[in-house]
């Protein structure tokens, strides 16, 4: 936080300094040298600073409170890195010195820039490369949502549940600003409860019922008798049937009590058929010794809702190799036609009418006794209806004996150990696993189901700081290197990778590689980056990274004057946002130079944007987004995307200032400061309402307080004046879209400006992309130390004109991404609560 505000503060001072230069009083101050030096800085750099800068920025006259005499000694550059860095940007961009001052030649400007750059970075970068440290990071909304999606295949809408995250350093994954107010923790608990209930279905929450048919509830077709316990004794030709109303489809326990019933007490084969006469079970019953005895068989079966019939009939013989679950060897029930409507009606009529015991002796016709038939359930939904996470989480379910769970500890452990590893993104020690196992045990002891216990354990896991936070502490075996930094372990790298490229949890592949220590190898890291960027999950790079980089999130809720812009609506806004995201994805996927984002003469649009841009469109149901050429238009790259043009406009008109500022910030990486206080709104000053915007903005140059900033900013913005406040091309209007950038780079219109930026500012743009990527990847604000890293990444990728995916790879391979500076736990670090 401190680094952040200080840098902004100094940037602001710098700009104020520039502003003030227009009327600065030039006071000659005698400069004395502390001592002659023959260094390159003293020979070239410092004399140029003295010649062009020091008049307005010295100890006495500190325009914008900038004192450049601090640059006299280049060895102090690391200590004043922010100042040096800002000076460098101003010089290189041409924003300083101001036009009314003595201007350096192009050669002098380059010489001064090089000298500052060398002094600044040769010194700092020669020192130990500091990887910096990252504070424990709470999962932000998108990360939480994606993590839940990837862990449980559950679409959990965080924006309905959690407040939006604070943004720090341009991104909402900034560890230092991601706070945890008590209200949020409560929301996490509520969310966890919801998610657990969706991830694990608890069968005990089903209204399970047992339905039983015995005695007068069993229908018989054919000859039968009734034994003293109301079992139905079937003759060989007869069969029994039962019917049930199944209200809830699902898995049922089907149970039959009965026995063989014949004189010779031989075993009696039988089969159970469904209402279509298809055999679903076959076995044989033994006879019983006592009259009250019976045997029972049972099996599980998924039953559809509705009326279900079962037919029980004896078989002449049981086919060999019969498999209980697949009694395919048993042929269809041949007597199904005897169970016709009238037989069913007759049976139903008899149900509930007490039977008369009429059995006396076993005779030769008897074959089978059917005493009871029941279905119990549903114990589970039909497997197709279960959440897909169920099988992943419940690797084993504790079994029940007489309604009591027997092996909760083992079963819970078997489920939880891998689950905890997945959710905490690292293997869990026994102590931790035991805590969660105990939750399941406690629940079953309270008579909750095992499933409910697992829901509770999962809820707790989702609230654990080990899930909600990404905390990087040195592994127990990790030794600091010569610089005192720790290399991230493979497991820690896996999380950094996945939350950088996917804004989500590592997948099994990453975890497996990490456990095998493979992610320590550069080759494997590169391979994984390529794989991950090809994965659909990398859409987060556009939805999270690019959208925030370009500020597209601010488009939500942007209003437009409905009279002036009738085409503008929320749907069009979505199409606009998608266009920019799509181009970013394309450039990244194809590993194209980042400059392509500025100058692409093609784009990706849907039907409504095609109409809006007045571009040809052919319906294609498979693909709602088409790649189209822009060569015949004035549009090139993101700067001419309707999204960016709308974002940088006011409800009723365009804003060259905003557009210029956007380019300074997001393309050139040199954000201007806020305007000085008490600056009146445009139009409220001179009262000439008929003045064009350009004329009005000319006031910026009349007003010394504004001139130096707006000189560059406004020029950039003018380039896009051909496009109105919602980014539509102003057909046939006579508009002046010409301008000039420092260094005499003249242009007319957005297309030319985009091409100039592409050709002359590719390196700066690449550096900006690199800085943004690194900040996003690390979840922290960059420090001047990081400039060494971003410079190196940019230089390394210069040969191929800065391909985007390559830069991403370089960021992953960089030292700050793979190393961290660890704070050692202080002795007072014992938990206080």
């Amino acid at each position: 936080m401190i680094g952040f505000s200080t840098e902004i503060y100094i940037r602001r001072l710098m700009w104020l300094g520039i502003t003030a230069l227009a009327y600065c009083i030039v006071v000659a101050v005698p400069i004395t040298f502390a001592g002659e030096s023959t260094s390159a800085w003293q020979q070239t750099g410092w004399p140029l600073v003295q010649k062009f800068c020091i008049d307005c920025h010295n100890e006495e006259v500190q325009e914008g409170e900038i004192d450049l005499t601090l640059m006299r000694d280049e060895t102090s550059a690391p200590a004043n890195a922010i100042l040096w860095n800002r000076a460098l940007q101003m010089i290189q961009f041409g924003a300083m010195p101001p036009e009314d001052a003595e201007l350096p030649t192009t050669g002098e400007r380059r010489a001064l820039g090089d000298a500052v750059d060398r002094s600044l970075y040769d010194v700092t970068c020669d020192l130990r490369p500091k990887p910096g440290r990252v504070t424990a990071r709470r999962l932000n909304r998108a990360e939480y949502q994606n993590t839940i999606r990837d862990l449980f295949a559950i679409d959990f809408n965080v924006s309905d549940e959690f407040p939006s995250d604070e943004v720090g350093g341009g991104f909402d994954n900034n560890a230092d600003v991601l706070s945890m107010p008590p209200m949020l923790l409560e929301k996490y608990i509520e969310a966890a409860e919801q998610i657990a209930a969706r991830a694990i279905f608890d069968p005990s929450s089903l209204e399970a019922t047992e339905q039983e048919r015995s005695g007068d509830g069993i229908g018989v077709v054919g000859n039968s008798e009734t034994e003293s316990f109301y079992g139905r004794i079937l003759e060989a030709d007869a069969f029994a049937w039962v019917e049930f109303d199944v209200e809830q489809a699902g898995k049922y326990r089907v149970k039959l009590d009965g026995s063989a019933w014949n004189k010779s007490k031989r075993d009696q084969p039988f089969a159970i058929y469904d209402e279509l006469g298809t055999p679903i079970y076959a076995d044989d019953f033994k006879s019983v010794e006592r009259s009250s005895g019976s045997h029972s068989i049972s099996f599980s079966r998924e039953l559809a809702a509705g009326k279900r019939f079962f037919i029980i009939a004896s078989l002449e013989e049981l086919p060999d190799n019969i498999d209980e679950d697949h009694p395919d060897e048993v042929s269809q029930f041949a007597k199904l036609d005897r169970l016709d409507e009238s037989a069913i009606a007759a049976g139903r009529k008899q149900f509930g009418t007490p039977l008369e015991v009429n059995h006396h002796d076993v005779n030769d016709q008897h074959s089978l006794m059917v005493r009871r038939f029941s279905i119990d359930g549903p114990s589970e939904y039909a497997s197709a209806d279960l959440p897909s996470s169920q099988a992943m989480i419940l690797r084993r379910v504790a079994y029940q004996k007489k309604g009591r769970y027997e092996d909760v500890d083992d079963a819970a452990r078997e489920c939880l150990k891998p689950l905890i590893e997945k959710m905490f993104r690292r293997p869990a020690d026994d102590e931790t696993v035991n805590r969660y196992v105990k939750l399941v045990e406690d629940a079953t002891e309270r008579e909750e189901s095992f499933h409910r216990g697992m829901q509770i354990a999962l809820t707790a896991l989702l609230v654990s700081p080990r899930f909600l936070f990404r905390v990087e502490v040195p592994e127990s075996w990790s030794e600091p290197d010569a610089y005192g930094d720790h290399a991230l372990s493979s497991l820690q790298l896996a999380s950094r990778l996945s939350y950088f490229l996917w804004s989500s949890t590592p997948d099994d592949t990453l975890m497996q590689l990490a456990k095998n220590g493979k992610l320590d190898e550069e080759k494997e890291l590169k391979r994984q980056v390529q794989r991950m960027l090809r994965d659909p999950r990398s859409r987060s790079m556009s939805s999270e990274f690019a959208a925030q980089w370009f500020g597209l999130r601010n488009l939500a809720g942007v209003d437009r004057d409905a009279e002036r812009f009738p085409q503008y609506d929320a749907e069009l806004l979505d199409s606009m946002t998608d266009e920019t995201a799509e181009l970013f994805r394309y450039v990244m996927r194809e590993n194209l130079p980042v400059g392509e984002l500025l100058s692409a003469d093609y784009t990706f649009i849907d039907k409504s944007l095609a109409k809006f841009y007045d571009l040809p469109w052919k319906d294609d149901n498979d693909d709602p987004v088409h790649r189209v050429s822009l060569t015949q238009t004035e549009r090139r790259g993101v700067l001419t995307h309707a999204s960016v043009l709308t974002l940088t406009s006011y409800p009723t008109r365009t804003s060259p200032v905003q557009r210029g500022k956007w380019i300074l910030e997001n393309v050139l990486g040199t954000p201007p400061p806020d305007p000085p206080p008490n600056v009146p709104e445009l139009g409220a000053t001179k009262g000439d309402l008929n003045a064009t915007i350009r004329e009005q903005l000319a006031m910026h140059r009349d007003n010394a307080a504004c001139a130096s900033c707006h000189r560059v900013m406004d020029q950039l913005g003018f380039g896009f004046e051909q496009f109105d406040a919602i980014g539509q091309f102003r057909q046939g209007e006579q508009l002046d879209a010409s301008g000039e950038l420092p260094g005499g780079r003249k242009f007319a219109g957005g297309r030319e400006l985009a091409e100039i930026l592409r050709q002359t500012e590719s390196e700066r743009f690449a550096l900006t992309v690199t800085e943004r990527l690194l900040a996003f990847a690390l979840g922290r604000e960059l420090t001047p130390d990081d400039r060494c890293v971003t410079d190196k990444i940019t230089n390394d990728n210069a040969a191929k004109d800065y391909p985007l995916a390559d830069i991403v790879t370089s960021v992953v391979l960089s030292r700050p991404f793979r190393y961290f500076h660890a704070e050692t736990p202080s002795p007072s670090s014992e938990a206080s609560p």
Partner: protein, 455 residues
């Protein structure tokens, strides 16, 4: 029905107490004293602290498989008698109970329905009606407790409470073609609607003393608290590994935890203040004795707080097969009950019978320890204890083992050994009890009139 007579001071018979007090004009002084008992501070204090007369309560307790009758039967006359070995645990309250002999459930006998005596023993127990022998569409009669509960509806938070120690089987047949509903319920709201019972003490407690919302909130908070405990341990473990910056982040987490815990604690505190002071564990209770006594405790509190005035309790389902290991009986109860007069087996049943009476005595004594206007809670109650079978070995449905404790607010003289002249339908006892409850009925099941001997 109220029989007014003064008991002689040397007689063990106690009755007419309410009448006596009222007559002597002493009732006025009592409510003040009662207001000082802890329960009256509870939100559930109900009628007990409202001053004036205490309501009459009724509980019916069923035990399965009959008893060893020779050990159950007491000797002596109505007023001069001794407790039998089985009933000996009731010694302390002998003057407040009546042992009644000669009651029968004619509808318990098999007759045209054949086997299924156990199912019928529970079905008839409080209905005196014959169950339709079917496994699907049950049909019986309204039980005595529900006759009372219907008429008392609205007077208390719950019209009636049904408790047991063994869960019901929802459907199916449990005994020779009888639906399980017959075996596992003694309380019947209508001919076709058994009142299923609560067997888990905690759930019974929640039903008695919580609204649905309070119950689910309590459960939610309970689970949340256990979750917070676990994650706090995770966080503490993590705290030991991190440096100061991360510590600050985790501190935010901890203060969040503490805030939620505090809120849960506050809710619990408020909740607790509104609940009777009894510790009821979550989940099933393993030990029979603990389980039974917890249920009896709950029954005492439910009466004391006037949460309900009508309760039933099944020590076990009909034909129950519990093993009473506490008294050294490992075999299953029902199996043993068919003892075929084997002395060893008979002895085991005797010790079970005795053990069950011990638990009942615990309940009755506890009721008697609660002072109320007009005497004790027991004095203002009628507690029926018995089985639907006498001789379990032969499935006999006459001369049932029956104890009626409590004097129904002085309406029944206690301390008697009542021996009916001829076999009397249990239904007659029920009609008399309903009179005492102030909820009279014309008939119940096969009743033939009031039980004149009780008066």
């Amino acid at each position: 029905m109220i029989r007014k007579f003064l008991n002689q001071s040397d007689s063990p018979v106690r009755c007419g107490r309410r009448t006596l007090l009222r007559g002597a004009g002493m009732a006025l002084g009592l409510p003040l004293l009662e207001a000082m008992t802890p329960i009256s501070r509870s939100a559930f204090a109900g009628a007990a602290s409202a001053g004036g007369e205490s309501p009459i309560r009724m509980a019916c307790i069923f035990f399965p498989n009959g008893a060893i009758m020779p050990k159950w039967e007491c000797s002596g006359t109505e007023h001069d008698w001794e407790l039998s070995p089985t009933l000996e645990p009731l010694q302390n309250v002998k003057s407040k109970i009546n042992v009644i002999r000669g009651l029968a459930h004619e509808n318990g006998w098999g007759k045209q329905d054949g086997a299924g005596d156990h199912a019928r023993s529970a079905a008839t127990f409080l209905t005196s009606a014959r169950p339709l022998k079917t496994s699907s569409r049950v049909q019986l009669g309204v039980s005595v407790d529900q006759v009372a509960a219907n008429q008392l509806a609205g007077k208390t938070r719950l019209p009636s409470v049904e408790l047991g120690l063994t869960a019901s089987r929802g459907a199916g047949s449990c005994d020779s073609g009888y639906s399980c509903a017959y075996s596992s319920n003694i309380s019947w709201r209508s001919e076709a609607q058994p009142m299923s019972k609560e067997t888990i003490p905690r759930l019974a407690f929640e039903r008695m003393f919580s609204s649905g919302d309070a119950k689910s909130r309590r459960e939610l908070n309970f689970v949340r608290q256990s979750i917070l405990d676990v994650v706090a341990d995770d966080a503490k473990q993590l705290m030991k590994q991190v440096g100061d910056t991360d510590r600050r982040k985790l501190d935010e987490y901890f203060s969040g935890l503490r805030e939620i815990e505090l809120r849960i604690a506050q809710t619990e505190q408020q909740d607790h203040a509104s609940l009777p002071d009894i510790d009821v564990p979550y989940g099933r209770v393993d030990s029979f004795k603990e389980h039974a006594r917890l249920m009896y405790d709950l029954m005492v509190i439910a009466f004391q707080t006037d949460t309900t005035r009508v309760m039933t309790f099944m020590v076990d389902n009909a034909g129950g097969n519990r093993s009473y290991v506490d008294v050294g009986v490992k075999e299953a109860h029902h199996g043993l009950s068919h003892h075929r007069n084997d002395p060893e087996t008979v002895k085991k049943i005797e010790s079970i019978d005795h053990y069950l009476v011990e638990q009942f005595a615990y309940f009755v004594e506890k009721l008697d320890s609660i002072k109320e206007p007009g005497g004790t809670l027991l004095d203002n109650s009628m507690i029926l204890y018995g089985s639907g079978l006498s001789d379990g070995n032969r499935h006999r449905h006459n001369d049932l083992p029956i104890v009626l404790a409590g004097g129904a607010g002085g309406q029944i003289c206690t301390g008697r050994h009542i021996q009916c002249q001829d076999e009397r339908p249990m239904g007659n006892l029920f009609l008399s009890m309903l009179d005492c409850m102030g909820t009279p009925a014309e008939s119940i099941g096969d009743s033939s009139g009031r039980l004149v001997e009780l008066a």
